[in-house]
Symmetry: D3
């Protein structure tokens, strides 16, 4: 029996009650455990756009730093962005950006942790998404064809469902 | 000569000054024009997950409505999420979700409009991203393998660079 | 023909499209006019609770000042609280609280103004509501039976529908 | 001796110090207990306005869903709206809207829960108020005479003062 | 060995990793202890400006109340303002403003408390800074030469580093 | 006659009405002009702390970038932090940090611009203050004696009062 079954309606979607109305799942009776989640995503771009970022990154610039900070800040705002997310007190947020020139893209990975009653998947995914949007923003003047892709959960620990990885 | 050239450093990235420091581009001298941008994205999921949403959507539920509202709200917060975005007064935000069972995914499209000095691409992309995250949140208890993919700009009008579509 | 007809679906509710989906009304083609709205509301309480506030107000205290500031701040956040409200740049917000001992209540009146494309009713109503909640918060330890009542629009000017008062 | 006595000044208002200055009550020494609060409120409207909502609600629409989501989101922002409220980590928020055609109004009920050091009355009342404002916003084009009324606490449990209901 | 050593890179700055990238320090393994911090700051102004505030303060006005409320509200938003600060649930915020006519300035002191895993220095400093800015805002029309000065930590307790005062 | 006289009460403080109640000044009748403001501030620290930042800044790090981004973000939130500030749509925000080893401090300068009805002094001062707090946050583990000092307006243009500099 998985962690989420208890709150589910017959439909299987935990955030809908029997009338199909969205609600915030009651986590009051869940145990406080150490929880962690890691998500990744990619910003695909033209090779010359990535080259510009790399120049900036190594020689003189802020591009990855701005995206990293935006991702960290967004993770802390997750419950204000995603209507049915619980407010959480994250104990760690790390966002890492890596240029992958051979794939003409930037890889973004975010890990969030807390000791709490509910998981932090959405916080990690939100950090990835907003870091990706911020990168997109800084490059959009030179490349309108960028695409944010592959945003997904790669690992999760803690909670009733225990450890999981993709 | 494109709209963005004027603010670019040699690097071509408009948000970096000559020292490689990120800054908010000065748009004070740009003309106020009618601007519009449309972005799309997808949440790929297992067929049975999409089936659950569809049941909810047509028969009894709020799933798409919650994601749509979250996307609209997020568009209004774009300048607080993306550090170098200008605060804007959007005159229109529309977010549309469509189940695509044959592709086992939900398609999200967002359009933003304003009469202003800078484009609204980031607002449309932010609306898509947060609507996708919200959909993910409501389904994650039954499907950990979902992926948000293909978030990109599909059309843009207004501003010095004129009309553009992917 | 009223200002709102144009955006209405057959249903008459301007924020629903033909499919019944909520959206933010497109105000891009509306004229920029001077707009103003005034709303009122009341916090009904036990006579001794009102007496305590009055003591604080005149002799030594912050009670009305805190509620007034909270109302002003809330008016500026209206578009973040009410999903389908447009972001606006208010040029004036005034919130006034008046003890009405003979009715055992506090009267709250808020007026908002801007030069813009859409009305400011929701901003005035939000200011009244949050000022009332703040007053409630400060008095709740001594009076659990307070009720916020009569929150309504009393006057409105500007826009296609012209001047209106209750 | 009630829960609030300890923090009160002579005036009886817990949020004022001896000089009449507003402050945030120190709850550091309070016990962590399971706390719950339920509030209600009403949006009174013309019969035909309620009819329009009902059409939307049952046949095709989002009206109640939007108001419910807005109420949930607002509950999470309570400490940012009400100056002297403590930040809290709610474990549950539920908002329910019910059409009451015989009374020509919509009834809103919100329940909030957490395990914490301070009560959640203000969170429940804020959810009701913002859900009501959101409903008002969606109907204001067809009915300027709506009134939000009867916003009050109906039940409370947990904390030193124990269970209470109106 | 101080509290912060463990998270530091060789550089000594706890918020930079070995690559010099800023991150949010992981506090997951820190003990929950009672923590308190007190900060002060000053707004220096022309004698006649302080006189105007004093008139307002004692006879008829809100000036100090508005600044106090702004400081309290800002303390609750610290983790949204300072990118690498953890979200915290403050149990107490107190902000005090004192006119010091002999020094032609207003002294601001803020104290924050919580039971948590990380200190509250930044919350106290943020409260002081925003209270000072708010005071500045209300007086800037009559005095453009005001300066906010001496914003610093004066005392701190709790955590591994124990008690400290300036 | 200065720009602010019109809104002042006899007291001279523009944000107080005749009853001494704080309010947001009505700027509806003011002309839209190009406005700019520049503010500065300093973080004084021990020489070895500044040395650590400098190492980070030049060789490998994010310290100044994080502070700069925090300042930019804060400028956009000014009207939410300072109760009586109007919401504004800044067209430019620039924040610059400079190490001044000979004075054992970091100098922060922020410039904000907009075409609007009210000045942007508070936005520039808020950017400086939050950039300073962010710098403080990243260094506090190694230096508890830092002080933020000298936060003041240095230049201002636009509006009825015309150009001004300190």
């Amino acid at each position: 029996m998985t962690e989420s079954t208890k709150n589910s309606d017959k439909n299987g979607l935990t955030h809908l009650n029997a009338a199909g109305e969205a609600h915030m799942v009651d986590v009051g009776q869940k145990a406080v455990t150490e929880r962690s989640a890691t998500a990744t995503g990619y910003v695909e771009m033209q090779p010359q756009t990535l080259q510009m970022i790399n120049d900036g990154n190594h020689k003189k610039g802020d591009v990855f730093a701005v995206a990293r900070i935006a991702g960290i800040q967004a993770a802390k705002q997750t419950s204000q962005l995603i209507p049915l997310c619980h407010p959480l007190m994250l104990t760690k947020i790390a966002v890492e950006l890596t240029a992958q020139p051979e794939l003409s893209r930037v890889r973004i990975e975010a890990t969030c942790k807390l000791a709490g009653k509910t998981g932090v998947e959405m916080e990690a995914l939100t950090a990835v998404s907003v870091a990706a949007l911020t990168l997109y923003d800084m490059c959009k003047a030179v490349d309108k064809s960028m695409t944010i892709t592959g945003t997904t959960l790669v690992a999760k620990s803690g909670g009733r469902s225990g450890n999981w990885h993709a």
